[in-house]
């Protein structure tokens, strides 16, 4: 699901993975924090 940052690479194996806005931006889950 758009995970780009190596430190936060994730396989959707069932565990919940939380991101704040900046982490989501870094991982490519969003385009911009507003």
């Amino acid at each position: 699901m758009g995970i780009k940052h190596k430190d936060l690479e994730l396989e959707l194996a069932g565990n919940d993975k939380y991101f704040n806005a900046q982490e989501a931006l870094k991982c490519g889950l969003i385009d911009e924090v507003i």
Binding site: M1, L12, D16, Y18, N20, I30, D31, E32, I34
Partner: protein
């Protein structure tokens, strides 16, 4: 804001059309969202995907899917031009998730309209965008999150019970395929 192809005078989530016409409200909306404010916002191309843990039947996803389709198909009526680059439809997401099939249906509907009809749609995470909510966030032409929002992703969750072992195995196989699809998104 970077990479914004919109007018400098506009901001994410604010549609610049005239929303003053209350005269033709869709009665079907009232059965789902009994709020004049929701109806007003929908007419402006602003949709809220807000679900609670009790939203076990995916009402929020279905509401947004139906409203999105209605808005897009009735654009150019009343002089509106929603869903184009200058006036994108906006979905605000504050959702804990819901049934994966309803989330996938909404995601695919958005991607279908984007691919074949050039829909411009912005998604904005506010508060929580979790599970199916995070999935819908990925469908936006532009994806935003407010500074204090939280996103959560995970794999497909399922319970198996009440059937034969063979039925559980079949369900497991279906969920594996669904999970594989989600990973590709």
């Amino acid at each position: 804001m970077k990479n914004l192809s919109r007018s400098k005078t506009s901001s994410p989530g604010i549609s610049r059309i005239n929303c003053s016409d209350y005269s033709r409200l869709n009665p079907d909306i009232r059965s789902i969202r009994n709020s004049d404010t929701d109806i007003y916002l929908a007419r402006c191309g602003i949709l809220y995907l807000e679900s609670l843990p009790t939203d076990a039947n995916g009402e929020s996803f279905n509401y947004v899917k139906h409203e999105l389709t209605r808005i897009f198909n009735t654009r150019n009526e009343d002089g509106n031009s929603l869903g184009i680059e200058e006036s994108p439809i906006v979905i605000y997401i504050n959702s804990l998730g819901g049934p994966v099939n309803d989330a996938i249906a909404l995601y695919d509907q958005i991607m279908y309209l984007r691919k074949y009809y050039g829909l411009y749609l912005h998604t904005i995470a506010q508060g929580f965008a979790m599970s199916g909510g995070a999935l819908i966030l990925q469908a936006g032409t532009k994806r935003y999150a407010t500074s204090n929002s939280i996103l959560m992703i995970h794999g497909v969750q399922a319970e198996y019970g009440g059937g034969t072992l063979k039925e559980a195995e079949i369900d497991l196989e279906a969920n594996k395929k669904m999970n594989a699809n989600l990973i590709k998104i």
